[in-house]
Each structure stands twice: as structure tokens, then as C-alpha cells.
């Protein structure tokens, strides 16, 4: 509470000067703040005009009443603390809290309370100045909100300014209303220039006449168009140069009518990357083609090499075999037993070598895809008897009987006769080779829907179950040839499998040790 001042000596015109005590009362009375006196036990002892205005109680309703009527019940504890502090001689300055008016409305207040001393220097009550700060708080809050929204707007503006894409807001006439910093950089115009331009000026000369139509159409459709949709768009800079762009358009309605926000992205770099990628792809494709050609060339070379090696390997062998046979005819000078034995070795091994070479070459040709099939409708009985006829010298020599067991009348298969004969010969040869003297090899054929199944069965040593699946593998040989028989090349069954499969059939074996083998293969009926 301010100390009472010495009243001014000057007199106002026409008025009677006041006594010092009255001055004080007049000041208290005219204050806008509530100035309240209260006793030690919390009763109101004085109540000025300001108090009437702040709290709504006339002094008649306030004086002698407890001060707690001004305090919301939830704050009574707080009031206890305040009183405690004051009784101990303390002061309260500008303490902000809430009070309650007569009409029940809560108001924000700032309190300053100081103890009042009697002539003996004892605390006899309290002087309380209450300022209604509701309005002030509201103003502060409003200011804060305004500041925050200004800040937010600023941030938002910054966001637009710093966006990596040019952003333009265009009205229905095409006038540019807003342009960001990126737009300046992208189009080469200053902000002022942009804001005085029609957006059509940013469209390349060639497309400009159509642009108005596009804008109208867009305005009518009123939907956001995704960026980079469809066309190869270009924009024109101030200097007349063009740049590839993607444009995304969004319609907005504002108090200034329908407007469009255009986000324009410079895709120069991306187009460049795309072009590089394309050229990279093209060169990769070229390389791929070149490699393919090279592979084909090498394949042709390989086929030629195979043909040549076939000739080079077999020709001398043919001569050796021919001469050996001529020698064996014993025409002029008779051979002694030792010479005959040697000659037999030459004949046997050169025949074996020829078989090996033929198999390897056949397989190479099949695997290189160089084997062409001449498929036709083949009478089965004829080709089987031909095969049996071919094998009969060997079978006779081995003491094995080869015969046809079952044959549907007029049965035909769709196959290459040469290859079918080769398959049959291979299977018969195996059958004879793995069958003991006195055993039999039989050939039969049965019809199974669209396929004919041909079976070559023998009464030979058989194949262990675990070997049946591997027997068609390259160079796989069972260890069960009957004694005295030379091993084959290990390629015969592999070639059979390939030849059967090439002709649309399949091949498999049923066997068990000491119970013979049954090789089955199928070929399509014509």
C-alpha cells in the first residue's frame, strides 16, 4: 500500500482543499483496484468502490462478512497459507490466483497484501489490494495465440519458399497470385515479374495456344491431377529455353474465386538419368545379343568340330577293323594260334573303341541339340525283327536266345526309325551281355492309350534296387556283368533315355538282383 502523500499545495480552481485524511480516503475510494481491509480473524473491515466493482458486492453486503466468501472453496487451503505468512509479518506481492464474484463468476486476480499495525506496533489486520486481471490475461493469451499463429504461418511460408518444387497459385484468368522462391530459380523471373505474369508465359510457345483450353478444362473437372502423369511436359524459362517438368495441379476455392495450385518439378536430372539408364540398357542388350551370337557361333563351331573329330577318329579305326578282319580270314599265309589270339585282341578292342567313340559322339550331338529326328510312323514288328537280326550274331556267340514274346498286330509308333533301332539294339545288347548262357531276352509291346510300351526283358543277373535309378546316368556301370564279357561304354542307357525322351516317351527299369531286368520305354502311337 502506497504511503499517504503530502497533499499538493496547489488548489484546483473553485474547489475547497481537502484535509490530508480525507485525501487518503478519496484516493482509496477512487481506485479501480479493490482495496479491502480485513481483521486478523478474516472478517472484512473496509470495502472500497473498486471492491464493489470487482466482486459485485455493495459494501453493506461485504463489511463484517468473512473474506472466504470471495474465495473458491478449493482455494481455502491456499488462503490459510497466505494468512500464515502474513501473521508472521510477511507480505504478499502480486500473487495471481482466482476469486469468485457475487454472481458466481470466477475472475483472475492479482493480490498484494500487507499487515496493518496499531499504534503499539502490533499486527491488527491486513490491507489487501485486489486487481482484476481477467481482461489482462485474456489479452496476453490472445497476443500469444496471434504470435503462435504468425509463427506457424511464417513456418508454413518458409516451407513453401524452400520447397524443392516450384509452387504457383494461379487464378481463373491465369494470373499468378503466389510464386515461391524455387519458381523464381526455375523460371528465371523475379518474384515481382512472376506476380505480374500470366501463367501461359511459362508454357512453351508451341503449346501456349492450347494452354488456356487446358486450364479451362481443368477448372471444370476440378480434380487433382497427379504429378508427371502421361505427357512429356516442358516449361519455358524467361530466356526462352525449355526444361522438362512434371506438373501437379490442385484446385482450391478461396474468397478470390477458384484458383489452382500448380506444383512444378524440374525433371531435367531425372530425364538425364533415365536417358543414361536407357542407353546403358541398350548397350547391355547389344552386348547380350553379341554374346548370344558368339555362343551360337561357338555352338556351330562345336558341331563342326564334333563332325570333324568323328570323322578323324573313326576313319583310321575303320581301316584297322577292316584289315584285322581281312587278316582273320586267313586267306594266304595261315596264322598260328598265338597270332590268332593277338588278332582277336586287336579286333575286340578296336570294336570296343569304335563303340565308345560312336556313343560319345552321339551323346555330344544330342546334348548340343545337333541331332535332328526324322519322325515317321514306324511299323513296330519290322523294326524289332531288324534289331533282333542285328543282335543275333552276338546272342548266338553268348548262347542267349532272343525272341519276340508279344506284339499287337500292325502296331505302329511315331518315331525316328534309325533312333528306335538304336534304342532297341542298345537294350537288346545289354540284355544279352548281362544274361548267362542258356538265358533268354524277350521283346514285347503293349498298347497303353496314346502310347505303345515296349519291354525288353532278360533272365540275367538283374540290378540292385538302389542302382535302378542311377542306371541311366552318364558313365554309370553296374558291377554285375557276367564273367568274360567286356564292359560297355556306360553311355548306352543314357543315350537311350535321351532318344526316348526326345521322341516324347519315357524309359524306366524294373529289376532285382538275380531275377532279371525289364526295361520299358514308351513312344507315342501315330
Amino acid at each position: 500500500m502506497t504511503r499517504p502523500r503530502t497533499p499538493p499545495r496547489t488548489q484546483l480552481h473553485g474547489q475547497t482543499p481537502l484535509e490530508p485524511a480525507n485525501w487518503l480516503a478519496a484516493i482509496v475510494e477512487s481506485s479501480d483496484d479493490a482495496i479491502i481491509g480485513k481483521s486478523l480473524d478474516g472478517m472484512i473491515t473496509s470495502w472500497n468502490k473498486g471492491a464493489e466493482q470487482v466482486f459485485g458486492y455493495p459494501s453493506s453486503e461485504a463489511l463484517g462478512r468473512p473474506i472466504t466468501m470471495l474465495i473458491p472453496s478449493e482455494l481455502w487451503t491456499e488462503e490459510e497459507h497466505i494468512l500464515e505468512q502474513l501473521r508472521n509479518g510477511g507480505r504478499i506481492d502480486h500473487f495471481e490466483t482466482t476469486r469468485i464474484r457475487k454472481d458466481g463468476k470466477k475472475i483472475a486476480v492479482s493480490l498484494s497484501i500487507s499487515p496493518v499495525f496499531n499504534s503499539r506496533g502490533e499486527v491488527c489486520g491486513f490491507a489487501k489490494i485486489v486487481r482484476d486481471v481477467t481482461e489482462r490475461n485474456r489479452l496476453i493469451k490472445q497476443e500469444e495465440t496471434t504470435l503462435a499463429s504468425t509463427l506457424a504461418e511464417h513456418k508454413f511460408q518458409e516451407l513453401i519458399e524452400q520447397a524443392p518444387d516450384a509452387i504457383l497459385q494461379v487464378d481463373s484468368s491465369g494470373a499468378i497470385a503466389i510464386a515461391n522462391r524455387t519458381a523464381e530459380l526455375l523460371f528465371g523471373y523475379s518474384r515481382e515479374e512472376l506476380l505480374s505474369l500470366n501463367v501461359d508465359a511459362l508454357v512453351p510457345q508451341a503449346a501456349r495456344h492450347k494452354h488456356q483450353g487446358y486450364r479451362d478444362k481443368f477448372a471444370a473437372a476440378g480434380v487433382t491431377r497427379p504429378m508427371g502423369e502421361g505427357l512429356n511436359l516442358h516449361a519455358q524459362r524467361k530466356d526462352g529455353s525449355l526444361l522438362p517438368v512434371e506438373i501437379s495441379l490442385s484446385p482450391i476455392s478461396s474468397e478470390r474465386g477458384n484458383q489452382v495450385i500448380a506444383v512444378v518439378r524440374d525433371v531435367t536430372e531425372r530425364k538425364k538419368t533415365e536417358k543414361q539408364l536407357r542407353s546403358l540398357q541398350e548397350s547391355y542388350m547389344h552386348e547380350l545379343e553379341a554374346r548370344q551370337e558368339e555362343a551360337e557361333r561357338l555352338n556351330t563351331l562345336k558341331s563342326e568340330f564334333m563332325a570333324s573329330i568323328s570323322h578323324e577318329l573313326r576313319t583310321p579305326l575303320h581301316t584297322i577293323i577292316g584289315f584285322a578282319e581281312l587278316l582273320a580270314e586267313d586267306n594266304e599265309a595261315p596264322l598260328d594260334d598265338k597270332q590268332k589270339r593277338f588278332l582277336h585282341h586287336i579286333q575286340a578292342d578296336s570294336e570296343h573303341l569304335l563303340g565308345l567313340i560312336n556313343d560319345v559322339l552321339d551323346l555330344s550331338r544330342i546334348e548340343a541339340g545337333g541331332l535332328r529326328l526324322a519322325t515317321e510312323s514306324v511299323p513296330l514288328e519290322k523294326i524289332i525283327s531288324e534289331a533282333i537280326h542285328s543282335i543275333s550274331p552276338f546272342a548266338t556267340e553268348r548262347g542267349v536266345i532272343v525272341s519276340v514274346e508279344q506284339m499287337p498286330a500292325q502296331a505302329k509308333v511315331s518315331a525316328d526309325p534309325l533312333r528306335l533301332r538304336q534304342i532297341l539294339y542298345n537294350l537288346l545288347s545289354n540284355g544279352v551281355k548281362f544274361t548267362e548262357r542258356g538265358g533268354t531276352v524277350t521283346v514285347s509291346a503293349t498298347l497303353h492309350g496314346d502310347f505303345v510300351r515296349i519291354t525288353v526283358a532278360d533272365t540275367g543277373v538283374g540290378i540292385a534296387a538302389e542302382e535302378c535309378s542311377r542306371i541311366f546316368d552318364k558313365f554309370y556301370q553296374t558291377g554285375y556283368t557276367s564273367s568274360g564279357t567286356r564292359q560297355g561304354t556306360g553311355l548306352g542307357l543314357t543315350i537311350c533315355k535321351q532318344l526316348v525322351e526326345m521322341q516324347g516317351g519315357k524309359i524306366w527299369v524294373e529289376s532285382e538282383l538275380r531275377h532279371g531286368s525289364r526295361f520299358h520305354f514308351t513312344l507315342p502311337a501315330p
Binding site: H311, H318, T319, F323, L326, E329, L418, Q422
Partner: protein, 132 residues
């Protein structure tokens, strides 16, 4: 297998052998001379037509594996000079699995043998073709 008695059952004939390999020619010459024939060798297919005129063979044996020339085309040319009845032609073909007999016969050959040839088969073939 027994040797055919060529001295009694056959006259000596002139046989033209076309084979690029010395071994092949030597084998054919050995078999044929053993049987009493006269042999003339053509080392390359290109010489075949000239020798067919000058040597005037009774029979020609031609190896299909000769390089640098299409043996089938060669036979067609030969056939324009000599009718099959007057000049039988035997083709020597590579492995059985590589050859289509129909193609060989269609090309104008009288018969064919699959290599490796056996003396026995060659003799049988010749005796059939040169049967009087």
C-alpha cells in the same frame, strides 16, 4: 566265314575307289585285289568324273565322308554319264545312326555299306551288283 571263289565265279573287273584316306583306299584295294579285280583310286571326289571316263570302271565305290564336295551332287553328275545298269555305285556311309538309306538310294546309288566295312559284306554286295 569263307572266302568267295572269285577266280571261278567272277571275271576280273575294273573297280574305281573314291576315298580321301590312304588307309581306306588301301583296305579296299587289298580286299578287291585279293578277289582278282583291277583297282583305280580317286584320292578326291573332283577326279571321279574324269576317271569314270578314262578308266571306264565296271563299278564305283564312293566314300560319302569325302570333304570339299557334295558326294550326292557328284553322283548325280556321274549318273548323267552312266546309267545304273551300266555302272553300279556303292556308297560307303559313316555310322548307321547317321545315315538314311532312302536318301542314299534316292541320290542314285545302287547300294550302300556302313563303315566299318567287312570284307565279307563288300564281296556279297559286289557279287550281287556285278551278277552277269
Amino acid at each position: 566265314m569263307g572266302k568267295l571263289d572269285t577266280a571261278d565265279s567272277h571275271q576280273s573287273r575294273r573297280i574305281l575307289v573314291a576315298d580321301e584316306t590312304a588307309g581306306g583306299r588301301a583296305l579296299l584295294r587289298a580286299i578287291l585285289e585279293l578277289d582278282g579285280h583291277f583297282v583305280c583310286e580317286a584320292k578326291e571326289a573332283a577326279k571321279l568324273l574324269g576317271l569314270a571316263r578314262s578308266f571306264d570302271p565296271h563299278l564305283v565305290i564312293l566314300d560319302l565322308e569325302m570333304s570339299k564336295i557334295d558326294a550326292y551332287a557328284m553322283v548325280k553328275s556321274l549318273r548323267r554319264i552312266k546309267h545304273p545298269d551300266h555302272l553300279p555305285l556303292i556308297a560307303l556311309s559313316p555310322a548307321a545312326t547317321q545315315t538314311f538309306p532312302e536318301k542314299i538310294v534316292a541320290a542314285g546309288f545302287s547300294s550302300y555299306l556302313v563303315k566299318p566295312i567287312s570284307p565279307y559284306e563288300l564281296r556279297s554286295c559286289i557279287s550281287v551288283l556285278l551278277r552277269p
